[in-house]
């Protein structure tokens, strides 16, 4: 039987520069047409070994109840010594972030019971002419972390993921929501919006290609998580930045003139957001999670730093990029430039972002031409997302969903709708 004590004991008797052990005791329930309950122990071991050539690191993940801790540690140490990179020294451990991650409402009874309770919330919403096909996945975990320095932290977390296919008027839409609290899922609002959009889809016509202004809101803005804002997360990858492969560099503008616009863009990584889906007290490498700016008034301001990258840059680690908080603007969501065709994008079929250039391909599922009020479906928009989001008008109304907190809508004034 593996225990943290045995692993720590084995680690203490090896010649290692540093190590972190994370123990995750997980209950996973899946409820759709059937019910599934899984209990798993997940161990994560990170070891650093110093050699004359530099420091080597190995990470080992084990899904197990049992195993041989000595063998495990020996193999990890051997691998670390084979994977040597530049020398660096571990920065002293900082205090973990104080953040709440477990919803008491999702912690009652078995995980399957809690997932069924969520499913019942949705069932009540179903109308006679609307069908909901739902899969609920609920994770409940107890996490314990221990480092070589003696640092020790424990916390509990819950995470619910709901995937629902909403079917009405001969059409279907899939909605996905993730939250640590049951009420953070906002399922009723999500279903109501989907039903309204399905009615629009039933009367949607063909698209008319051409130049336009785009309004992205709700599901179109946050397609599958962070949506278009994901363009900024890869630019804050310290490894990529060190290789000189990011599109912009720290302390430089993120796009030409991005610091000169009326409401310059600011983006902050907030890993200490209460019940944030990407929040945690400490990162997987034992680094304390911190709030830090990615973009400050149009200027690149920070990178996600794990202990290694932080040490190489002589800075403090921050736990990496987590939940994003985007600065609000003053746009009222109505005013647009005169004489410009405005397309209100409700949903996307697909979004593909090149992590290096920030180029985005948006495949439209449902949009409304504001001038005529007519919905249409289909079409592609190609955007230089870094540039257009730096200049976009951001709404004063805010939205919090999944890992995002920021304006509920943005207006992109120059785009081209392709067939």
């Amino acid at each position: 039987m593996i225990s943290r004590r045995d692993i720590v004991h084995a680690l203490e008797h090896r010649d290692l520069a540093d190590w972190v052990v994370v123990e995750r005791d997980q209950e996973i329930a899946v409820v759709d047409g059937s019910q599934r309950e899984e209990h798993r122990m997940r161990w994560q071991l990170t070891v650093h070994a110093d050699t004359p050539a530099g420091r080597g690191t190995a990470r080992v993940v084990i899904d197990a109840n049992d195993g041989d801790p000595d063998q495990l540690v020996d193999e990890a140490a051997r691998l670390a010594r084979l994977s040597v990179g530049p020398a660096w020294t571990t920065i002293p451990q900082a205090a973990p972030a104080r953040v709440e991650l477990a919803d008491p409402a999702l912690s009652i009874g078995t995980a399957v019971d809690a997932a069924i309770a969520l499913a019942k919330l949705l069932a009540r919403r179903a109308e006679s002419n609307v069908t909901l096909e739902t899969r609920i996945t609920l994770l409940r975990e107890r996490v314990a972390m221990q480092c070589r320095t003696g640092f020790h932290a424990e916390w509990k977390a819950t995470l619910a993921r709901v995937e629902t296919l909403v079917i009405a008027t001969g059409h279907s839409l899939e909605i996905i929501r993730e939250a640590r609290r049951a009420d953070g899922l906002e399922l009723v609002a999500a279903i109501d919006e989907a039903i309204a959009d399905l009615r629009l889809l039933a009367s949607a016509g063909a698209l008319l290609p051409g130049p336009c202004a785009l309004i992205l809101s709700g599901d179109a803005l946050l397609h599958h998580g962070l949506g278009v804002w994901d363009a900024f997360t890869s630019q804050a990858d310290a490894v990529v930045a060190r290789q000189g492969l990011t599109r912009y560099h720290e302390r430089g503008v993120i796009a030409a003139g991005s610091d000169q616009v009326a409401e310059p863009l600011s983006i902050t990584s907030n890993g200490a957001l209460a019940f944030g889906v990407r929040s945690a007290p400490v990162g997987d490498d034992g680094d304390a999670v911190r709030t830090f700016p990615l973009v400050d008034h149009g200027i690149a301001a920070g990178l996600g730093l794990d202990p290694r990258e932080a040490a190489l840059l002589h800075r403090d680690p921050n736990g990496g990029v987590r939940n994003l908080r985007v600065s609000l603007g003053t746009w009222d969501e109505k005013t647009t430039s005169a004489g410009v065709r405005v397309i209100d994008v409700r949903r996307l079929r697909g979004l593909e972002i090149d992590p290096y250039t920030g180029d985005g391909d948006l495949e439209l599922s449902l949009a409304i031409d504001r001038a005529t009020g007519k919905p249409f479906t289909g079409g592609t928009v190609r955007l230089d997302l870094i540039d257009v989001l730096a200049r976009a008008r951001r709404s004063a109304r805010s939205l919090r969903r999944g890992p995002y907190q920021g304006p509920a809508a943005v207006l992109i004034e120059h785009a081209e709708l392709l067939a």
Partner: protein
């Protein structure tokens, strides 16, 4: 766009040779490795029978599936060699009654672990008396025995392969070789059914990357099969193809967007068939009214030259098996017969044999034709798969293609455009398909869902088609 080594590798799903992570355990007490041991096989079957008897004792129908699997990946590249091992055991117990299906999953493949999971599923019951049928035959062990393969043997094999590619130019900025072995022993026990299989899946590949102006050209050739490590290898033509494709110079001018006559290379045909089978040709996809309306059994959904079969029985197929994860014997089932939709994907499989059930194809076979070569008067030969997206509701498909080779007046012009996409509706694309070649290629697919592997394969010919092709890049 630029890429670094890490991204190239990540994009190919093979991770950095030096950064390969080791993982061990995944269940099992601290004792000598039990994987694939014959003693273990007998024990596991006994535990599963006990569990199924307990489940039936509660008045419901039971099924027990257990797996002991090992994944070994070795890579050799410009920075050195690395080998990774992962072992995982798991048990899935299923109880069915009129109200539906319930599952209990554990990674504890011991008698106590299996019986505890059974009790968690149905409570303390009196075991039912069941007939499990005859004991299954001992599964064949491929040669060389996967348990006897050492890390050194794998690295040595990769080094030999690298040595054979003598034509590497200094323009190749990155070269790597990979071999992956998934060795899974699976037991399935239910009333009147006791099955066991050993699935050893091997994937070999080489990657070559060369810069072409400001963009990297990544070329990869792979072979994937079930059986022994040495049953297949990449031949000299395949190595030369990987190298020459990476070194080919791309035309810098703008691609002329529009409707074109096309020949699709097998990897593109395979990726289109794979995504269509997974997202459209399943009972689950029929939940969507748009799909149910469009894809009615008996409807013509493709040209008469197009046929598609899911053949889980195909000998040595990477995605093949003897029985699926519900214990149902493998079948070969036509899905599209000469353009007509005749059936749907029906085998239920679990990612890693322990994940949630899903209907996925095993070994798809796109019908081959009789042509030895497909000639074009004017159009493009599309090669290299960079990803396919499909929207099941609207049928819109976007096929990202690595390069389009121009053909004019029946001759290759020498112009080759990088990064184009084939867009339109899948129905129209399949409806406009023309003849296919008699020669085919087989593509093995290993992807992961929540960290659990899924194995599929597709055998496809070159296929004549037509459709809207356009450039993917913004011009600077």
């Amino acid at each position: 766009m630029t890429v670094d080594r890490r991204r190239v590798l990540r994009g190919l799903g093979i991770a950095s040779a030096h950064g390969l992570w080791f993982a061990f355990g995944c269940g099992g007490p601290a004792r000598p490795p039990r994987h694939a041991g014959d003693d273990l096989s007998s024990d596991v079957r006994t535990w599963l029978r006990e569990a199924v008897a307990l489940i039936h004792g509660a008045g419901v129908t039971g099924h027990a599936l257990a797996v002991s699997r090992k994944h070994t990946a070795a890579a050799l590249d410009v920075l050195g060699a690395g080998v990774a091992h992962q072992r995982c055991d798991g048990v899935v117990l299923t109880a069915r009654d009129g109200r539906g299906r319930r599952e209990q999953v554990t990674s504890d493949l011991t008698r106590d672990g299996v019986l505890d999971a059974a009790r968690a599923l149905v409570g303390n019951t009196t075991p039912a008396s069941l007939d499990f049928g005859p004991r299954p035959a001992r599964p064949a062990t491929p040669r060389p025995d996967p348990d006897a393969i050492t890390d050194a043997m794998l690295i040595e094999g990769l080094a030999k392969l690298a040595k054979r590619d003598s034509g590497l130019s200094s323009r190749i900025v990155y070269a790597s070789g990979l071999v992956e072995i998934d060795d899974a022993r699976v037991w399935s026990v239910a009333a009147n059914s006791d099955r066991e299989q050993r699935l050893v899946r091997v994937r070999r590949g080489v990657t070559r990357v060369a810069w072409n102006g400001t963009r990297p050209i990544v070329s990869e050739v792979t072979r994937a099969w079930s059986g022994g490590l040495e049953d297949q290898t990449l031949n000299d033509d395949e190595l030369a193809h990987a190298r020459d494709t990476a070194l080919a110079l791309m035309t810098p001018g703008a691609f002329s967007d529009g409707e074109h006559a096309l020949v699709l290379a097998p990897e593109l045909v395979a990726s289109i068939a794979d995504i269509a089978a997974r997202t459209l040709y399943t009972a689950r996809a029929q939940r969507r009214p748009e799909v149910a309306q469009r894809l009615v059994t008996g409807a013509t959904i493709a040209a008469p030259t197009f046929s598609l079969t899911d053949d889980a029985t195909a000998a040595t197929a990477y995605g093949g098996f003897h029985f699926d994860d519900e214990g149902t014997a493998a079948t070969a089932k036509p899905i599209i017969d000469r353009g007509v939709l005749v059936d749907r994907i029906s085998h239920a499989r679990r990612p890693g044999h322990t994940g949630p059930l899903e209907l996925t194809s095993a070994h798809l076979r796109v019908g081959a034709g009789t042509a030895s070569e497909l000639a074009l008067d004017d159009g493009y030969l599309l090669e290299g798969n960079r990803g396919v997206r499909i929207d099941p509701a609207s049928d819109r498909i976007v096929v990202a293609v690595q390069r389009a080779l121009e053909v004019s007046h029946g001759q290759r012009t020498g112009r080759a455009y990088a990064d184009v996409e084939l867009v339109g509706s899948l129905g129209k694309l399949l409806g406009d398909c023309g003849e296919a070649t008699s020669a085919t290629r087989t593509i093995g697919i290993r992807d992961e869902l929540d960290g659990l592997p899924r194995w599929r394969s597709v055998e496809a010919p070159w296929l004549r088609a037509k459709g809207l092709v356009r450039a993917r890049r913004r011009l600077a």
